[in-house]
């Protein structure tokens, strides 16, 4: 796949309903963009899964399936990286309140592994309040230099 020329940034934005189908859409959408950016199949899978986990958090925990709240997905592709921003319109949450899923006492918990996967698969992860309300997650994956 052709990469954007040096210095050139291509950006796509979409707004999704707070339903589980949006999670699949977000994943498919970002995999497509990751392919265009030049990531290989394994990297596309990792980026797709990271975005899937973020989209689940936005739909389920952030917007709580609200028909009036949206998920905001922005994807920026440059010659060196793919940057994905996923925002919800929920109440926000404290990252530090989440239990460590790798602690022995938490290994058998049913949930709580999404952020671990996101952090493992992406190079940068940042979570902050979304302007106007809600939470925004910014993910970056750098392209290996060819």
């Amino acid at each position: 796949m052709a990469r954007p020329e040096n210095g050139k940034m291509e950006k796509v934005q979409t707004t999704l309903d707070s339903v589980l189908e949006s999670v699949d859409k977000a994943e498919e959408f970002v995999i497509q963009e990751a392919g265009k950016a030049g990531f290989d199949e394994d990297e596309q899978h990792q980026i797709g899964m990271a975005v899937r986990e973020c989209a689940v958090n936005a739909v389920v925990h952030g917007n709580r399936y609200s028909k009036t709240k949206k998920v905001h997905l922005d994807i920026e592709r440059s010659s060196s990286a793919l940057t994905v921003t996923i925002g919800d319109e929920g109440e926000g949450f404290d990252l530090n309140s989440l239990p460590d899923p790798l602690a022995p006492e938490n290994l058998l918990r049913q949930s709580g592994r999404g952020l671990l996967l996101i952090r493992t698969f992406m190079d940068d992860f940042d979570l902050h309040p979304r302007p106007g309300g809600g939470t925004e997650v910014r993910l970056v994956k750098h392209l290996a230099k060819s």
């Binding site: 899937r52 986990e53 689940v56 899923p101 290994l107 592994r113 999404g114 493992t120």
Partner: protein, 114 residues
């Protein structure tokens, strides 16, 4: 394609052949229902064959852990068979390799229950 699960009996071991995607929604819930149903019917030796599973997300992993807990609390065992590299990687990342017994070969897996 969401998850499709079928079970078969090999001696006293119940092999659950899973296929498709085990993700939040239908995939994970049908997975949960199948394991709970088999455990409730008294099946104590369960081998989960993931060879045809193309994708598992954190919800799918959660259902596997939940199934493991359900079966173990019932006095049984749940073991895994035929993991793809991607699923193996997920178990490494989440440290669940330390929880599940994992096999590449069905005969060896069946034998391990005895």
């Amino acid at each position: 394609m969401s998850a499709k699960l079928t079970s078969r009996q090999v001696g006293d071991v119940t092999v659950i052949d899973a296929a498709g995607r085990i993700t939040l929604g239908d995939g994970a819930s049908s997975f949960r229902d199948t394991i709970r149903d088999l455990a409730a019917k008294g099946n104590k030796k369960l081998l989960l064959n993931l060879a045809d599973v193309s994708y598992i997300d954190s919800s799918g992993i959660g259902e596997m852990v939940s199934g493991f807990t359900t079966v173990t609390n019932n006095g049984g065992q749940l073991k895994l068979l035929g993991l793809s590299k991607r699923v193996k990687d997920l178990l490494q990342i989440t440290k669940l390799y330390t929880v599940f017994e994992v096999f590449d070969d069905e005969t060896t897996a069946i034998r391990s229950f005895h």
